[in-house]
């Protein structure tokens, strides 16, 4: 092959790209659209103004990272509810088993991926922080 051809080819590609839309995302000004099944930050689904979670302890049981803490409480109607629901995101491996295990569809994983923080304690998401914001 002519030794010049590859150089010309290369310059052509560069030239083409000069006139194309860039592929990089101008984050944070531009934000990506994550896939439907992306496994980001958890959220607790709400039903009738309450967390749907019935504190069945299945998600902490299946969680391979052992990062979920559930404590059940008894409400005024003697029903079970999650008095405490906490995920330590520093340990979470985002496997989604918790979502799979939940018998009442109470926990889901959102597209939220911006999870950086300054303090370790900020990675512990308690029930308030996990409750699905409407």
């Amino acid at each position: 092959m002519n030794p010049i051809t590859p150089i010309i080819n290369g310059l052509r590609i560069t030239l083409e790209h000069l006139f194309k839309k860039p592929v990089t995302l101008q984050y944070p000004a531009e934000r990506p659209k994550v896939a439907q099944r992306f496994r980001g930050l958890h959220a607790l689904n709400v039903s009738h103004d309450k967390a749907k979670c019935v504190a069945c302890y299945l998600c902490p049981t299946v969680c391979p990272a052992k990062c979920i803490t559930v404590e059940a409480g008894e409400d005024a109607n003697h029903d079970k509810y999650a008095a405490r629901y906490e995920i330590d995101l520093l340990r979470c491996i985002f496997c989604g088993y918790c979502v799979e295990a939940c018998p009442v569809d109470a926990v889901k994983m959102t597209g939220e991926f911006e999870l950086a923080n300054y303090h370790r304690s900020d990675f512990v998401y308690d029930k308030e922080r996990l409750l699905e914001k409407k």
Binding site: A55, C56, L58, T61, A72, H78, K80
Partner: protein, 822 residues
């Protein structure tokens, strides 16, 4: 043995087995739902269907069908599996599928079977039940919507507990389990029904929603309340004892527990537990370091000699008691005693003289093997409930005769054909003497009796105790006394049981001797199903006696208290005991403890006694330590820690060891070392080691050298216009510690005084009236309980409650004469 074929396997099984038993013995699993090995066969659920060739291949329930020679059985043909699936489908028809919120999830027989038999859909449909759920009591929740009508709860409550709180009500499709008049549960709350319920119909509320079954770590232990020595499994999570887990294969009692054992565990993780040492500074107890506190104590004990004294609770382990004794000896003092030693004088003085051994020459296992049981002094059901279950099963299942000699009736008196002789308080020794006299007069004594030392003296001493003479004094008829004596003598095997404890004072040693005389006279000793079982109060009372933790050379508990008051005792070390509440005559005890120069208390809680101390040391509960306990029948059992120590608390073993070291002595490193020493030096414990105790423990041998001892009797003179107050145990409590267990406190939260209907009517007293009960030494206010079990003129009050102050009235006499006003 019967030969049969199960699933093409040639097997044998004992005759009287059911097909289910035969299969189980041979390792073949047949699913069950309504069957329980402790209960009589019932056959309600049909889960255990099997095919029997001889019955033309018909499907029969394995749990109720007895085996016959040559039976050919198949347990899992496709037809059987189909049938079992259908049984489950039918059960699930009405059963709510609320496993995520049901506490039984993970430990539910129905859930497990549904999974095992892959019942993923239901061909039938019906409405679910809408029964109201019973939340009315804090211990047991009843959700009859989940009930599979196996009847286990009703059967255990009837067959073993003998309370009969639950039963099937309504019929057909309406059938459900209910209480009388469909009311709420109001029973003795032993939790037996909860333990056997295969589904989530009956739940322990203290554990409600706390954790899933699979998240618990199970640690086997021994109940820390009474001397029965029940085995128990603690369910632990996050260093907290969350529940007691039922294990039907545990202990002689097959996992049965009483209210205290099952629901009284909360004291272990109570937030009232002491967590740091406290030292009195400027009059107030302030937090201190262990070093500071122990230095102070060691400085006081160093060379203290007889000015130091020690009192221990018999809840300490054997090893701790040995070490405590060694600590006192290092300090130069021989003044130590446990639980107001008089409470155990029956063993240490009575049995020691009569049998030459301070232990009972019979075991709890003898109860079911006997022909006749004689329960003396009080209803042993209240003091040792699980022994009560054994008695109940012996009477109901084995037809064992039951005679009770007591100053009041109790639950045992309600058992079928139970004969109760209610004598006037304080006359029990005289009555037992009269029994012995009758045996002698009627020539019912065994041939061996005359050769036992002291026979002639006894014969002479009993001359005055004719049934006629004693009848007048005891309020019994002479015929009744004679009949009892003859029954006892005639029975081939007869066992005498009598409970002792802090609140059963008076004439313990004499009572023990009197009882021993009966057994010796009739030769009912040393054979299976016969003998005498003295039931000491606390979980390690027998151990304390065996370890010699009572006054032999020094002062006993009473004398120590006197010494404190007179100034002879300057330093008092109280380990786990709460004399202010549990010893007689509170005013005197408080004054003595006020007087003593230096009071050290090691305890789990800030008790009334600890509050008076100069140094308070936080100690560990049984769930946090290692060691051995000895039950009333000398079963030595090993416990291991179930949880880590709470706060800065230390075991008494560590506390005593560190003090010994500070006093310049040599402290053994581990409880195992001390147990080795015990095994080497304590009669009956020879050759024992932690390993040899295993999970079931081992019996320490009792070598009996018999002698007749003439018991002293004190005539209790009735006081005109006054009522006789007897003290004792309430079924739900044991010592003062159960006050920190939420379960027992829900059922029985405060002291009370029981009186008969006649007395109540005469004094115009209504249930729950606040009564002023006054004796010669003091008075207190107690709520009235009117019960049919009390004889006229007799009051009963449990002693456990600090606030009730029964020991302000009661001074340690067997009978306290009181006046009662509103």
């Amino acid at each position: 043995m019967v030969n049969l074929t199960i699933d093409d396997k040639q097997v044998t099984a004992p005759k009287n087995s059911t097909i289910y038993d035969a299969a189980r013995i041979n390792g073949i699993k047949i699913p069950i739902l309504c069957h329980d090995k402790k209960l009589k066969p019932f056959g309600a659920c049909r889960m255990c269907l099997v095919e029997v060739e001889q019955m033309r291949g018909r499907q029969v329930p394995a749990c109720t069908t007895p085996i016959t020679e040559g039976m050919i059985i198949r347990t899992s043909t496709p037809d059987i599996i189909k049938a079992r699936k259908m049984v489950l489908e039918l059960l699930l028809l009405n059963h709510p599928i609320d496993c995520p919120v049901c506490d039984k999830g993970g430990d539910c027989d129905l859930q497990n079977l549904t999974y095992e038999y892959k019942v993923n859909a239901n061909r039938f449909s019906d409405e679910k039940f809408h029964h109201a759920i019973d939340y009315s009591n804090p211990l047991i929740e009843r959700d009859m919507n989940r009930c599979v009508l196996c009847g286990k709860c009703a059967r255990i409550c009837d067959e073993i507990v003998s309370f009969g709180a639950l039963t099937f009500i309504s019929r057909g499709i309406e059938t459900k389990i209910g209480c009388e008049f469909e009311g709420s549960l109001n029973c003795e709350f032993c939790g037996s029904c909860v333990s056997v319920c295969p589904v989530g119909s009956l739940l322990a509320r203290p554990f409600k929603f706390k954790a899933r079954f699979w998240a618990l770590t199970n640690q086997k232990s021994v109940c820390g309340y009474c001397g029965t020595g029940c085995n128990l499994t603690l369910g632990v999570k996050d260093n907290k004892v969350l529940t007691t887990v039922y294990d039907e294969n545990q202990g002689f009692h097959n996992g049965q527990l009483c209210c205290r054992g099952r629901f009284g565990y909360q004291f272990i993780n109570s937030d009232k537990r002491l967590t740091t040492p406290l030292v009195r500074k400027n009059g107030t107890l302030t937090e201190a370091s262990w070093d500071e506190a122990l230095e102070l104590v060691a400085a006081r004990l160093k060379g203290a000699g007889s000015s130091a004294a020690a009192l221990a609770t018999p809840r300490l382990t054997n090893e701790e008691l040995v070490l405590f004794k060694r600590l006192m000896e290092t300090a130069g003092s021989a003044n130590y005693d446990h639980s107001a030693g008089y409470a155990h004088a029956a063993l240490t003085e009575g049995f020691a003289k009569s049998f030459g051994a301070a232990a009972s020459p019979a075991t709890i296992l003898d109860i079911q093997k006997s022909d006749l049981l004689l329960v003396i002094k009080t209803d042993s059901y209240e003091t040792h409930p699980v022994i009560g279950f054994e008695i109940n099963m012996a009477v109901k299942n084995k037809g064992v005769k039951l005679n009770i000699l007591s100053d009041k009736r109790g639950k045992l008196s309600k058992l079928p054909d139970a004969q109760t002789l209610v004598h006037t308080p304080g006359s029990e020794v005289a009555v037992i003497n009269a029994l012995a006299k009758t045996i002698l007069d009627d020539k019912l004594a065994a041939g061996t009796a005359a050769a036992i030392p002291g026979y002639a003296d006894l014969e002479k001493a009993l001359a005055g105790f004719t049934p006629e003479a004693v009848a007048g004094q005891s309020g019994l008829s002479s015929d009744a006394i004679k009949r009892l004596a003859r029954d006892y003598a005639a029975a081939e095997k007869a066992l005498i049981l009598f409970p002792i404890g802090n609140a059963y004072p008076g004439h313990n040693a004499d009572l023990a001797s009197a009882v021993a005389n009966l057994a010796l006279l009739t030769g009912k000793l040393g054979t299976e199903g016969s003998g005498v079982l003295c039931m000491a109060e606390k979980n390690n009372s027998q151990g304390a006696v065996d370890m010699g933790f009572y006054a032999t050379r020094g002062l006993n508990a009473g004398q120590i208290m006197d010494g404190c008051a007179s100034g002879a005792v300057k330093t008092l070390f109280v380990a786990g005991e709460n004399p202010v509440v549990s010893y007689p005559n509170r005013a005197a005890i408080s004054a003595a403890l006020d007087k003593v120069e230096f009071l050290v208390v090691s305890d789990l809680f800030m008790t009334e006694t600890a509050a008076m101390a100069d140094v308070v040391l936080p100690a560990c509960s049984f769930a946090e330590k290692e060691g051995t306990f000895t039950s009333v029948d000398r079963r030595v059992q090993h416990i291991k820690p179930a949880i880590g120590k709470i706060g800065q608390s230390r075991t008494d073993f560590e506390i005593f060891g560190q003090l010994i070291a500070k006093l310049g002595g040599q402290a053994p490193a581990t409880p195992a070392t001390v147990f080795g020493e015990i095994a080497a030096s304590t009669p009956g414990y020879a050759g024992m080691s932690y390993a040899s105790l295993g999970e079931t423990g081992a019996f320490a041998q009792v070598a009996v050298t018999a002698a007749f001892v003439v018991p002293r009797t004190v005539a209790v003179e009735p006081a005109a216009g006054k009522l006789a107050l007897v003290t004792g145990s309430a079924l739900y409590h044991n010592g003062t510690q159960s006050q920190f267990g939420e379960g027992p406190m829900y059922v029985c939260p405060e002291g009370y005084v029981e009186l008969s209907r006649t007395d109540a009517a005469r004094l115009k007293i209504q249930e729950n009236d606040l009564l002023n009960v006054a004796s010669a030494i003091g008075s207190t206010k107690l709520k009235a309980r009117i019960t049919p079990r009390m004889p006229e003129g007799v009051l009963f009050s449990p002693y456990h409650f600090g606030a009730a102050g029964v020991n302000q009235v009661w001074g340690g006499a067997p009978v306290t004469w009181v006046t009662v006003t509103k």
